[in-house]
Symmetry: C2
Amino acid sequence: MSLLVVGSVAFDDVETPLGRRERALGGSATYFSLSASQHTDVRIVAVVGEDFGEKEMGVFKDRPIDLHGLEHRPGKSFHWKGAYQWDFNEAKTLETHLNVFADFHPRLPETYRGSDYLFLGNIAPELQLDVVRQMATRPKWIALDTMNYWISGSREPLERVLKEVDILLVNDGEVRALTGERQNARAYQRVREMGPSVLVVKHGEFGVSLFTPEGVFAAPAYPLEEVVDPTGAGDTFAGGFLGFLARIGRMDFPALKHATLAGSVLASFTVERFSTERLETVSPREIQERLTLFSDMIRVEAL
Amino acid sequence: MSLLVVGSVAFDDVETPLGRRERALGGSATYFSLSASQHTDVRIVAVVGEDFGEKEMGVFKDRPIDLHGLEHRPGKSFHWKGAYQWDFNEAKTLETHLNVFADFHPRLPETYRGSDYLFLGNIAPELQLDVVRQMATRPKWIALDTMNYWISGSREPLERVLKEVDILLVNDGEVRALTGERQNARAYQRVREMGPSVLVVKHGEFGVSLFTPEGVFAAPAYPLEEVVDPTGAGDTFAGGFLGFLARIGRMDFPALKHATLAGSVLASFTVERFSTERLETVSPREIQERLTLFSDMIRVEAL
């Protein structure tokens, strides 16, 4: 099954209490595709500049990731610089250079237009809507990520694209900004009225809550001894979650629960190292082992 | 089985975005005992003033709560005034009048000294230690709650009492202040060196993590449509958690997992209304129903 992702591919300068990296590989489509490709075929639509070379392209090689939609344009790639304090709750953005990303107009290669599943990463809602319109057939599901910048600044186009969406993935602050509701159980009612039938709320180190027509689920984050760099955790989760759903071709409640665990496990690898360092090397067996440990951990046996 | 709690019984003035109450019943021992008494016999050691009358005493009546250790002294009861913003993360303390609580020296009635289990609520570590020394026999387990005020200001006596403790219940900020570790999995190693073999970290609306010699567990908070007043949630959780453990007389990993759910469910009732309003009226059947719903919610069925 093929999962199409539109988003950013970038260079990140990151500093955390445990170290720093410069010009490390980053971007939502990067984390998403490396994660999702552990489960299914991925097709990327994104843009990079002339500074995105063989070395960076090599990270995607030998994985089921189709790069025909990765546009190379004159200029520099999207470059983000950020820092985290000791509590890792939120990145402090120090610099954002959109570069070639400023004029990004996603264009789907002909071969992408029949993709089975679609993930609209965090870009302008107008562009997300344009991607939906370029699809030759309606995907089996469409998932979407967004941020407060679009929620407050591009409300109307965001509401239009949400009508097309089945699965919304956001964090606590975003779902509150979008719905005006403090409690996620009530926010879910508002989200359903907007379009998506499934709401995934990411709580960072406190895990994930899942709201579906069949019921509510929540799972903690996979417990780690050390978090080195939280950058990309949310996109990695989305990749593991949606990649798993694409692989099994189901979207019922049990499937969504398992997908939640799959996403959390992938994210746990990402945050153990800087950038995509760990996500690049993790093996299917390591993923499976951690998934088994995680399932055992949250199981409540009868007394 | 008898569970002895030492802590505060107080009047609270509380304001949240959803309303306000003045001179409402509060205090750690109050929430704890109302919650724990749903599962086991509770004995309170605390102090109140002359303003604590028939009406307040009536709340504890017709429950398995022994009040022989509730000392009545000349003066006023402990009085706390606080407010919550929209996000409910943290109470802003507006006023604290310790009143009779300022000279509180817990004295255990003779009949209390053989209690099976002991919960040391959040009071000065010197007093907690004094309570341990007044016990005629070592309880089957001792649990303890504390706060940053004691962690930074009474470190040495806190470390002494922790040597006597089996179960430590704290929130994220407290476990970090106590151990200097950001990741709870690593903080647990430090906590074990200090004494307690079980660490319960309360994440507020994001649930609870449990660290034991047999493994790690985490559960979300019970999902509610509306939180009215988070005051007392942590003490109510402790009461449900420890009351359940006392009832079943086990402290193994499966028992601790079930106790976590029991504590979370009791806390979900507390926060639905102001003060102890909901905790006073909740029935065993309502508790059992919510516990069944909660267990179903977090269960991950095989695919």
